[in-house]
């Protein structure tokens, strides 16, 4: 597979698969306490839930090139990046369950995951994470490291003022910064052609005199290659990049989204070319690994995911009075 190290490909397979497993489980667990009548505030996992099934290549193909010194900021749809970046899965799951053992002791929830140990953060305001990554890149440059900072965003976020201001700053200061635009065609119900005046956001790199890359077909291997170049450039002080990847949102914007705005045939056709299944086949076909070996990987993943859910479910809730703590340090 084009000179990509087997180790990297397997790593990508593993994190994509972990994310998928984690989210397929979440899809079910989320419904607990929400049936027969769906009530967003009910059950052990209340609140909004944005799943990334289908979008795993964006996270894996980029983050395979990062270490824990590199920073990642993500969005309201953060699980695939969190998992790829190595966020503690037990604590992340516990956080989503609102437990005291969670990353934020239950204060953050699924849209507000913070794991400073692996330099991961995300948030619920579209576009807002981009300047945070610019700031991390600035810190990296100031401290003479070769660490990079990557902001993951949806294609909808590329129309926010934050996008423009951040890209201009990063380019002006030649920061080790990359923005990955996950074009899943939709911003909730608004299709890209109804939100974005250019077909490809990577074109917008011209507005900052930086590099723009496009990855077609939700392809993790292409994403790997393009990201490698962008990360190397960033590490070598050659400035920021925009990478746009065409990816796919299999589920509703959030769980419970009736998706009346979307053609019912769209998702089945997307799932047919699922990148995880495709990568699995490619790995086997290239003789990188046997079916049995991958089955072993898969079962380890399932175990890891199960462990995380067990941990979360069996953890304690915080005491009500803890709500008043942690405003200031």
């Amino acid at each position: 597979m084009d000179n990509i190290r087997k180790k990297d490909l397997l790593w990508m397979y593993r994190v994509m698969k972990t994310s998928r497993c984690f989210e397929e489980r979440m899809e079910k667990e989320y419904l607990e306490g929400k049936q027969p009548i769906f009530n967003i505030g009910s059950g052990p996992v209340p609140g909004e839930m944005h799943l990334s099934n289908g979008q795993e290549p964006a996270a894996a193909g980029m983050i395979v090139h990062l270490t824990k010194n590199d920073t990642v900021t993500a969005t309201h749809r953060p699980h695939h990046e969190a998992i790829a970046k190595g966020v503690d899965l037990n604590k992340m799951t516990a956080e989503i369950y609102g437990k005291k053992t969670g990353l934020s002791k239950g204060k953050g929830g699924h849209m507000h995951l913070f794991d400073p140990k692996v330099k991961f953060s995300c948030g619920g305001i579209v576009g807002a994470g981009i300047p945070h990554a610019v700031g991390a890149a600035l810190a990296n440059k100031k401290r003479n490291t070769n660490w990079v900072a990557v902001a993951f965003i949806g294609e909808g976020a590329a129309n926010t003022g934050a996008f423009h201001e951040s890209l201009n700053l990063a380019a002006l200061w030649k920061l080790p910064f990359i923005v990955v635009v996950e074009d899943n065609s939709w911003a909730i119900s608004v299709a890209k052609e109804n939100s974005t005046s250019v077909p490809f956001n990577c074109t917008r790199a011209k507005a900052y005199d930086i590099n723009g890359y496009y990855v077609k077909n939700n392809d993790p291997v292409e994403m790997y290659k393009v990201s490698k170049e962008a990360v190397e450039r960033a590490r070598n002080d050659e400035g920021p990049s925009i990478i746009e990847i065409k990816t796919d949102r299999y589920l509703g914007h959030f769980q419970g989204d009736p998706e009346l705005y979307r053609n019912k045939k769209e998702v089945p056709s997307l799932i047919k070319k699922d990148p995880i299944s495709k990568l699995r086949k490619r790995l086997i076909k290239a003789n990188y690994v046997t079916i049995e070996e991958l089955d072993t990987v898969d079962s380890l993943i399932i175990k890891e995911v199960n462990t995380a859910y067990e941990f979360a479910k069996h953890s304690k809730y915080p005491e009500p009075a803890e709500a008043l703590e942690d405003v200031f340090c």
Partner: protein
């Protein structure tokens, strides 16, 4: 407003909103709606449901995620004589467009010496209680109430939602119209009696600057707004059983505040509790307390009670969130303390 019985239907808050918009759009071509997911989706909280099919994409316009751009565009379009209704999906996002809202929408009429009119309605969803955490659960009533040049309303019941939205649309000033998610009567949230109520079919206006006594009583005045009004009414039932007869005032208008109704009530009850789903400091509890402490001081027989979110961001976990948002139980406790002084 004359009610003709056969023309009254029970509607949810969201249907009341959509009906108000429809009726006004029917009679005034210059009204159009902009916002994220207000087209086919009908608004994440149902504020525009059905309107896209009725009026098409020219008048019910989905936008990119560019709140400064499209809220600013509403200002420009209003200055040209159109009457935009523009939705900021969650009030929590106001920070990305606040300059347009408070430096321009709010001030241009004044800065132009009255020459430029901006008949804009800014719809925005407020409120927590369903574990949507720190960036999607706020009401921020006071963040808007503090700034001159905006009328800010927050109706509770479907009847007021329709009437105040119509009044807002017809007003020639910018009006911030806050609707509470839980009071929209959506199928996928808590089902409350309060979110379903009688709404006349014809168009009518409810004034934008008047509070309403939703339960009268003699012993204590409880001022609430939206979900806090609902909780105050629940509390009043419990208190009644304990022999305390509370008067509940539904604030409805955040700015300007209807001082008269509040002061008259306190003149009668001599006790005041203000309940707010916004943050404590510099919030509704502050402003109403101050009005009464300066203009109704002699009516008071006891310290004023304040109940609000205790100056912390809204936490995710249900147990934590429950602890910070006031509810009927906390209101009962606060009133008991107040009247026992």
């Amino acid at each position: 407003m004359e009610k003709t019985l056969e023309k009254i239907k029970k509607l949810t808050g969201s249907k009341a909103m959509a009906q108000a918009l429809k009726q006004e759009m029917d009679i005034d071509d210059s009204i159009f709606i902009m916002g994220e997911d207000i087209g086919k989706y009908g608004g994440i909280f149902g504020s525009t449901s059905g309107l896209y099919d009725l009026f098409g994409k020219e008048r019910v316009m989905d936008t990119p995620i560019s709140e400064t751009g499209f809220i600013g565009a509403a200002i420009g379009a209003a200055a040209e004589g159109l009457r935009p209704v523009v939705e900021l999906m969650f009030v929590d996002f106001h920070g990305v467009a606040m300059d347009q809202i408070y430096n321009h929408m709010a001030k241009i009429h004044y800065m132009s010496g009255g020459n430029v009119k901006l008949p804009i309605v800014l719809l925005t969803a407020v409120g927590g209680g369903y574990s949507d955490a720190a960036q999607h659960s706020q009401t921020l009533y006071a963040s808007f109430g503090h700034l001159p040049g905006l009328k800010v309303v927050a109706p509770t019941f479907p009847y007021d939602i329709k009437g105040m939205l119509i009044a807002a649309i017809r007003d020639n000033n910018p009006v911030v119209f806050m609707f509470h998610k839980t009071l929209q009567g959506l199928g996928w949230m808590d089902q409350l009696d309060a979110s379903f109520g009688e709404v006349p079919e014809q168009a009518y206006e409810v004034p934008l600057n008047k509070s309403k006594i939703v339960k009268s009583g003699e012993d204590v005045t409880i001022v609430g707004v939206q979900m806090m009004t609902v909780e105050a009414l629940k509390a009043a039932d419990i208190l009644a059983k304990k022999g305390i007869n509370a008067e509940v005032v539904d604030l409805r208008s955040i700015k300007p505040i209807d001082k008269e109704t509040i002061l008259n009530s306190v003149a009668k009850t001599h006790h005041l509790l203000v309940v707010d789903e916004d943050y404590l400091s510099y919030g509704i509890t502050a402003e109403i307390s101050a009005i009464v402490a300066s203009e109704g001081f002699n009516y008071l027989n006891a310290p004023i009670g304040r109940l609000a979110i205790p100056d912390v961001p809204i936490p995710y976990s249900r147990v934590l969130e429950k602890n910070v948002i006031p509810n009927s139980e906390k209101i009962v406790n606060a009133v008991e303390k107040l009247v026992s002084v």
